[in-house]
């Protein structure tokens, strides 16, 4: 039976934690011997949820060192566990931290690493999507070390199995050489309103809004729609119009709302991978040839700055 491991992220409100539960659900369905690895503060607590989602064993350590230094300690510990237990494949959530860990482990164990996977079919086959999801690529994973696969958030639904994991404490000495890049302080922006990942409707803006001030048109519309949030493309985040927390796409959040309203968004691959699984997509864009229209259930070829204020009025009217 294949030994399938899942590298878990443990902060309960993080995308990484939710993605871990999704991946465990998938790993369970593959029918192997499923274990999880949880490193850093909160791991013993997270191990319960990992067990409920399919991990028979969780190798866990609450040691603060794993949170304090980037990648080094976790890569060292994971490599030690790999040499003891020889898993066939290790699935990681595609997050900042897990990606860094997988990258280092790849060098340590000579393992092939597949990024941006949307599925794993067995212990030597991963699946990715390219061109914003237009093509599905099946990738055969080879070589001697355990196969490392980074899986995008929301690739599967998380479903508890009701199981309980056997928690095996990890006590691995971390050498000083693995303690390099140190976190000295965290800065968190206080979020307001429903977060993008939970919202039922997302109103999202891109370059077509022309000026940062025009984002308030989207906020006015969103204010009328229950459980909605405002998102943005990388282009406007990079330009400093709105904070990074609003970014949807490859290097931002992955969302799956009931309705996604893309305003002045052309539909670059970078953006599409983060929103293409939305139930319904509405696009408003001046350029009739914009790739976003290929995804849209409803496409309005028109000036966003004219259509959106009118839409706000129309929504108001329908709410009575």
């Amino acid at each position: 039976m294949a030994k399938i491991w899942v590298y878990g992220e443990t902060a309960p409100d993080s995308t990484g934690f939710k993605t871990t539960l999704e991946i465990l659900t998938r790993a369970r369905a593959l029918g192997g011997d499923v274990s999880a690895v949880a490193l850093g503060p909160g791991s013993t607590e997270a191990a319960k949820a990992f067990g409920e989602h399919g991990a028979a064993t969780v190798y866990a350590s609450d040691d603060a060192v794993y949170g304090e230094y980037i990648a080094g300690p976790a890569a060292h510990a994971l490599t030690t566990l790999i040499s003891e237990h020889t898993p066939d494949i290790i699935l990681f959530p595609m997050t900042y931290d897990a990606r860094d860990v997988a990258a280092r482990v790849s060098a340590k164990t000579n393992s092939t690493v597949l990024s941006n996977a949307v599925d794993v079919l067995d212990e030597q086959t991963g699946q990715t999507a390219i061109f914003g999801g237009a093509q599905i690529v099946k990738v055969a994973l080879e070589g001697t070390g355990p196969k490392l696969v980074l899986i995008r958030p929301k690739s599967f639904e998380a479903e508890p199995s009701g199981g309980t994991a056997n928690v095996v404490p990890v006590n691995i000495e971390i050498p000083d050489a693995a303690k390099g890049a140190k976190r000295t302080q965290k800065h968190e922006v206080e979020a307001t309103g429903p977060n993008l990942e939970e919202a039922s409707v997302i109103v999202s803006g891109g370059r077509g809004l022309q000026q940062p001030e025009n984002f308030k048109l989207l906020e006015e519309l969103a204010a009328l729609i229950p459980n909605s949030a405002v998102g943005a493309t990388r282009a406007v985040v990079d330009a400093g119009w709105v904070p990074y927390a609003m970014q949807i796409g490859q290097t931002g959040k992955t969302v799956k709302p009931k309705v996604y309203i893309a305003v002045g968004i052309s539909g670059a691959t970078q953006h599409i991978v983060g929103m293409k699984s939305s139930d319904r997509i509405i696009a408003i864009n001046k350029d009739a040839e914009a790739p976003i229209f290929q995804l849209a259930d409803l496409g309005v070829v028109g000036d966003a700055l004219k259509v959106v204020p009118k839409l706000t009025e129309e929504v108001k009217a329908r709410k009575g």
Binding site: R104, S106, K138, A181, D303, E314
Partner: protein
């Protein structure tokens, strides 16, 4: 301070891509220096302008990847290393990292700068694997960086904001788009780039074997994703907003 910047030549992301056997056709495409790498080059130039030292651009690719190196040189980088070898066709992330790490070691470095991920493959693991192979720490997703008293200080992007990160040198740092405003090459810069030194190396020049260049993943199959049902698209004649509102009502979200 000597800085190596990893760069990649990619098909222009503003043009549609073509595939052959599941791989990007790099032969037909208009190729450019990955726009994400320009932030890395700019970050390196700012550091050496403030503190002295040299910027070496390091790349792996076919002969014509030289154009991407020249572009970085025309921005102001001092020299280049291009590793090009037929055995590298189809290289995966691990192979790429092995080659870049060997080339960086060959060039010498206090700091390695790379983009967070390439704009064609979005793999994003190469810099971390390079760091491990070089035996140095990695400070990733930097939206701000500076070097003070031989220590690298980074603001590392996180899901909810950013972390302050301190890292001893030598190290690998990856920079996000938006970390700076990359300069345009000047005419003088373009002329000077033509005579700046670029080493072209084969695997054997770096002590690497054909085994080191063997990819451990292969494309088994490429299939079109199930298409989304064709939607309705129309020119706005003033009634667009009403149609969208009807759509929202029908979707029961208002």
């Amino acid at each position: 301070m000597n800085i190596c910047v990893c760069v990649k030549q990619i098909p222009d992301p503003n043009n549609p891509y073509e595939l052959s056997n599941g791989r990007l056709r790099r032969d037909v495409a208009q190729n450019v220096l990955d726009p994400g790498d320009e932030f890395g080059v700019e970050a390196a130039l700012q550091l050496v302008e403030a503190q002295g030292g040299e910027v070496t651009v390091v790349s792996m690719g076919p002969d014509k990847a030289m154009d991407a190196i020249r572009r970085a040189l025309s921005m102001g980088a001092h020299k280049g290393v291009l590793v090009t070898d037929d055995a590298l066709a189809g290289a995966d992330a691990l192979v790429t990292a092995r080659v870049l790490a060997a080339a960086i070691k060959h060039a010498g470095f206090d700091l390695v700068i790379a983009g967070v991920e390439s704009t064609d493959g979005y793999t994003g693991t190469v810099p971390g694997t390079v760091a491990e192979l070089l035996g140095v720490p990695q400070a990733t997703f930097a939206k701000h960086l500076e070097v003070k008293d031989g220590t690298l200080h980074v603001q590392r992007q996180t899901e909810k904001g950013y972390d302050d990160v301190e890292c001893p040198l030598p190290a690998v740092v990856t920079v996000t788009a938006g970390v700076n405003e990359p300069r345009y090459p000047t005419f003088k810069g373009i002329m000077q780039a033509k005579s700046k030194p670029v080493e072209t190396l084969k695997l054997s020049d770096l002590g690497l074997s054909a085994d080191d260049a063997k990819a451990t993943q292969t494309i088994a199959e490429v299939t079109p994703a199930p298409p989304r049902g064709a939607g309705e698209k129309f020119e706005d004649d003033g009634s667009g907003a009403a149609k969208v509102a009807d759509f929202l009502k029908e979707a029961k979200v208002i």
